[in-house]
Structures are given as structure tokens and as C-alpha cells.
Symmetry: C2
Subunit: 392 residues, 2 copies
């Protein structure tokens, strides 16, 4: 029995984490590989109360079909949050609720990308964004990511030569590098894209998890053309699959809504009602600060361990988010290091899979949010042993 499959599905690159899934199943393994929030920080009790209230007071609507664009009250909460954080005026009618911000990428791909279009990304970038966009068969062009954000002269060249349909960015605590764009770097990106047809996409799942430094400004503050993706996954819990996309251009918003309806009608009304009540009835800002405080301790433990046990490595020191990025001596291929590290009892993601242009094989992504400071110390020591064995 043979099937014909679409050309697009054969274009999707494999997921490293899925491929090594069985390897990661060992309970003795310390994993810095996946990007899991710390489940000990899920607001379980508050959430249980919100779920109970929802089913007591509004089961008839919370379990029924709902509007494609999402629950009005939740969209108001999202819109208002940008007023508070950044003094940006977002109308709830510009907010579309999605199944996590990952779905925002699928909808943008559906609405914007024709087969053969160019999609510009940071290099390295978030692998699952490449996967989402790949279904619409663009050509990817990576733009060098400098320490304070996207290299604007490299970007200018790509825009001039390739006229990308969209530029995909993660300006806060970037995945995989942990890098945050300065406000100056953000303004330069907006200037480069001014008067072009390139859509600026800001994916911001981590922005609120800042534990040091000063919040930088979303692109949407500098230009109406920026689309903004957000998520409750890191500030509440990812299992709900609740995110949003903000599009201030009506013609874009309407098309995203058509795509959302065709894709799955709408996001779970039950989840949206529970999330709305959770926000309405709790000090969610205090909760986010608690998360940030823990993640800072975890990051500090990782930085200290790297300094002590892997002095030959360079690494970013992120002011927030969930990941840091390690660059080992150029003699080390982290793809080959990986099985050695797993033998030592520690896992990471080799950097290679995040590059869409030039690949730096001596890099790796480390997640610090899903292990205790003690586990982090032990895990980095295991990693150092694997590196030492590799170098022999």
C-alpha cells in the first residue's frame, strides 16, 4: 500500500528532541535539552479554583462552541497588559487567541507565505518556527545575530537582495541563544524594514520572565506593521496551549481569523474561561515574579558551574527566559558530543539544528528552568566530563 504525500510535508525538518526522545527517558538523566517550564511553579490551586468557578457559573458557554477570535474578556486582558508593560495601545479586536504561540506561526504561514517566498530569520533561530513555516515551502535566509540583537547591516543586505515576505524574530531571551535585543537594535531593524513589504514578526514567549536588567520595548511600539505573538505557556502553564497573535492591520487580522476558523474553528473555550478567571481573581504579576526569581537562581547556578567546570567554554548570560547558549572550542562537534554526554547522564540540544544558514557545530543550547540548582551543578560536571573525554 503506497500513498502519495504532499510536497510540503516532505519539506519539514526533523525535530532533534523527537529523534532522541527515547534516549531522554532515563530517570537518572539530567536534561538541559527540552524547554520545559518548572512544573513546581504552576499555579495549581488558583487554577483549580478558576476551573471550579468556571464550571459552576458559566458551563453553558465555557463548554460550548465559541468565537473564532477568542473570548472577549481574555483578549481584553492581553490588550491591557501591553498598556501596563509598554504603554502600547492595543484594542481587543486586534488580539486573536491561538493554541499556543506556535499556532500563530502556522496561521502567519498560511496567510503570508507563497511557495518559494523568502523567510528571513535570526541565525540561529527557533527550530519549531522553521518547521511551522516549512509547510508553506519558503526559502529560509538566516541573518547574523549579534550580542545585542540582529545585525542590521546584514539584515539590510538580505532585505535588499531577497525582499523577504517576513522577518521572524525573538527579541527577548532568544531561543536558542538567550540574547536580548537592545532598544537601539530594535529601532535599527524597524528602520531597515521601513517602506518595504517585509512583515516584522516578533515572537515573545519569554519577555515577562525577566530576572535582571530593564524591559526592552516591543517592535509594535515603533511600528504598526509588527505582528506580535505571545503566550501563557511560560507565565502560567504550557499544557493549556493558550497564546495570542496581535495584528493591528485589519486586512491581516481578518485573514488570520479566516485561517484560524478553517484550521480548528477556535481555541478551547473552556481553557480560555479558566485562564480569564485565573487572571481576574489572582495576583498574576506576583506569580510571574516568583517564576523569575526561581529561574534566576537556576541560571546563576548554571553560570557558576560552567565557569568552574567548563572554563574553555564561552556562554551567553541571559537576563531572562529559559536558555543559555554555549560555544565550545572549534574542535568539538556537539552533535558527536551528544551521545557521550548522554552516557555521562546529561542531555542538551546540539546547536547545529538551530541554524538555517552557516552552522556552528561547536555550539549547544542549555535549558536551566527544569532542574534544581543541585541538579544543574551535577549536570554541568557530567557535561564537563563528556567534553574532557571527547577532547582526548
Amino acid at each position: 500500500m503506497t500513498h502519495r504525500f504532499s510536497r510540503r510535508i516532505e519539506h519539514v525538518p526533523p525535530s532533534f528532541l523527537r529523534e532522541v526522545f527515547n534516549l531522554l527517558d532515563d530517570p537518572n538523566l539530567i536534561s538541559f535539552a527540552a524547554g520545559l517550564p518548572n512544573p513546581n511553579l504552576f499555579p495549581t490551586d488558583a487554577f483549580a479554583q478558576a476551573a471550579a468557578d468556571t464550571l459552576k457559573e458559566s458551563a453553558g458557554t465555557a463548554l460550548q462552541y465559541g468565537a473564532t477570535e477568542g473570548l472577549r474578556e481574555l483578549r481584553e486582558i492581553v490588550a491591557q497588559s501591553y498598556k501596563v508593560k509598554d504603554n502600547i495601545d492595543i484594542d481587543p479586536s486586534q488580539v486573536l487567541v491561538t493554541n499556543g504561540s506556535q499556532q500563530g506561526l502556522d496561521l502567519l504561514g498560511k496567510v503570508l507565505i507563497n511557495d518559494g517566498d523568502v523567510v528571513a530569520t535570526e541565525n540561529p533561530t527557533y527550530l519549531a518556527a522553521i518547521q511551522a513555516f516549512s509547510l508553506f515551502q519558503p526559502r529560509f535566509v538566516g541573518v547574523h545575530l549579534a550580542e545585542d540583537g540582529l545585525d542590521s547591516s546584514a539584515l539590510a543586505q538580505v532585505v535588499a537582495e531577497e525582499a523577504p515576505t517576513l522577518l521572524y524574530t525573538i527579541p527577548n531571551f532568544q531561543n536558542p541563544t538567550g540574547i536580548t535585543y537592545s532598544n537601539e537594535a530594535r529601532r535599527r531593524v524597524v528602520e531597515v524594514l521601513h517602506d518595504t513589504e517585509t512583515m516584522l514578526v516578533e515572537d515573545d514567549p519569554y519577555g515577562e520572565i525577566r530576572f535582571e536588567g530593564t524591559r526592552q520595548t516591543p517592535f509594535a511600539k515603533y511600528t504598526d506593521r509588527a505582528v506580535l505573538l505571545g503566550s501563557f505557556s511560560k507565565i502560567v502553564a504550557p499544557g493549556l496551549r493558550l497564546g495570542w497573535i496581535i495584528a493591528r492591520d485589519t486586512s491581516l487580522y481578518e485573514r488570520l481569523k479566516v485561517a484560524k476558523q478553517a484550521t480548528d474553528l477556535h481555541t478551547s473555550t473552556f481553557s480560555q474561561h479558566v485562564m480569564y478567571r485565573y487572571y481576574r481573581d489572582n495576583d498574576t504579576q506576583a506569580h510571574v515574579e516568583t517564576i523569575a526569581l526561581h529561574y534566576k537562581q537556576q541560571k546563576d547556578a548554571m553560570i557558576a558551574s560552567l565557569t568552574e567546570h567548563l572554563p574553555e567554554a564561552k556562554y551567553t548570560n541571559p537576563e531572562g527566559g529559559m536558555f543559555l547558549w554555549v560555544t565550545l572550542p572549534e574542535t568539538i562537534d556537539t552533535g558527536k558530543l551528544f551521545p557521550e554526554a548522554v552516557k555521562e547522564g546529561v542531555a542538551f540540544v546540539p546547536g547545529e539544528s538551530f541554524f538555517s544558514g552557516e552552522k556552528k557545530k561547536n555550539t549547544m543550547r542549555l535549558n536551566f528552568t527544569n532542574a534544581t540548582p543541585e541538579q544543574i551543578q551535577e549536570g554541568v560536571q557530567r557535561l564537563a566530563r563528556a567534553v574532557a573525554r571527547y577532547e582526548q
Copy 2:
């Protein structure tokens, strides 16, 4: 500010219900238009218990990221249900959990349809399936739907001439007509598709809501090549957005999983945990029988009212599901009747929007599940008044 949009998004036909959304907002209107389950039959208390137990006993996993293919325990429940209902052996590894069965259509489109491929459908068919597949730019060919199922000689001609990539069917209580295929008609469809490359897709959101007659057999019983879509929307509640797709061919299943991961990583783990516990801890079969009993009373009221007040109409008399299909005298265009009917205080969906080939403008879809027998009586009288005025 102008944007370039993809060709595919401009291909999606508009939704009649969305276009008339504001008209339907009048609380005095009796609506037979949308396909809403009766919210009075949602198992709210059992669901509240399942949600409370989930957050008490497994919050750490129920709120965390989960497997792309869905919660193992829920997939076991789905697989087992086909053993009980139809004596079909489905392995849980062949079940992929989706955001409602609508998402199954998006994933099938992604994995199977190339631009310009032919998609064969029943004529008339479910509009939102046309919308979902449209994003992948096929050409639609409608096949005549007879009273006992798809016209197999018409299908044979389409298969011979057009070699469709897939055939999309709703064999139980079809949307919009309420028609159910006999087992003979099912076998004929399978025979016609034997040894072709056409994938047989069975969308079965209503199959368990049977209130009369005998359950007919899924295509999957007759052939391994049939993909089966199911949903908890009609047997539990649609607001959860929980459905499934069953693909027994490993190469197809793996590609659907890749598409699912790229699209939104996975379906809400929280919703899946709650649904699993609801099934584990309750007599869900008794609940489905309660729904069917109510819907039968509602359908009977609609049939009785149509017989009394619209003797010039023909209509299907479905043995289950949520809709029946009315054919008025050929002089009546239900698209033009619609505003008159709304003035009388009743709404329906004009039949025209369900046709992908020849359109019969004197048809309409009536939903009977979201109004009481008394409202149904009153609504049909209003409809009869609108028809009488139209005929003058």
C-alpha cells in the same frame, strides 16, 4: 499600508454563518442555523469533578507540555471504543488527538494535498471542510449524494476521470443533509476506491448520536486505507476542542504527527487529562443515550411541525445527528428567503453554500438540537409564514 497575502488565503470561501453573525444576535430569534449541541446536556458536574481530580492528582503533567500524538490513556479509550462499537481493532498508536475533528482536516490537507489536486466530496457537503482543504488549493469535485449514500456510479466516473487525492465523506447523519449511508453503499464506495490512490476520509462527528435504526459500519472495517475522524464535541462538549484522527498506515500517521507538531506542538494536555478522567469515572454511554433521547424528541417535533405547516416541503428524516435538509418548491431561492425569515424571527442556513458542484437553491439546512420542542414548533410556523410571503 498594503500587505501581500498568500494565494491560498484568498481561496477560502466565506462562511455564511460568520457573515450573518450579527443578524443572529437577536434573543427573540429562533435559530435553526448553527450546529450547536444542547448545552443543557453538557455533563457539567462530572466534568467539574474530573477537572478537580486532575488538578489535585496530576497537575504537574496535566499543565505541562505533552506528547504530540496525545495522552496515551485517552488514545486507549478512543481505540477501545471502536472495538466495542464495531469490533474493529485499532491500536492506540494509530490514534492522534486533534483540536476537534476540524483540525484533522487541516492536517490531512497539509499531508496529502498538492496545489491543483482534486478533492472529491459529497454534494452537498460540510462547508468548513471545503474551507479547511481550500488552504491547500485543490480543485473540488462534488459527487451526487443519494438517499442511502454516495452514488457509486457517479463516484466511479469521478475517480476514473479525475483521480482524486482524497474522497471526503460524512457517512453518518451527514452535514448538511442528515443522510446515512447503508452498509451496501459503504461497500460500494470501498470497491470503487480499491486499487486507486484515492484516500478515503470518513468524518464521523455524529455517529454515536443515533436515536433510531441500526448503527452502520465505518469504512475502516472494510479497508485499511480509510482514515477516520472522530470528536468528543457532540458526545461530551465542543468547547474542549477535542477530536481524533485514526490512520492505520504508519507512513501516513508519522506525517500527520509531523504536521501536528509544526502546527501547534500538541493538543491541550489539561483538556485531555480531564476528558480521560471523565471517561474513566462515569457512565458515558448512558450520557450519550440521554443526548440521543432528547435529540429524537427535538427532531420529531421538527418533522411534525414541517408536516403540519410546510406541506409543500420535502425533507430528510435522519436517524441521528443534528440536522435535517429541506427541499422547497423550485421557485424558492432560500438565499433570498433568508432575510424574510429573519424578519419573521427564524434562521436557517441556505443550502447553496453547501454545494461544490451543481447548486440547488431551493434547499436549506435545519438544526434541531439547540431549541426546545416548543421553540421548534414556533420556529417552523415562522418559517412557513416567510415561505408564504415569499410565494406571493
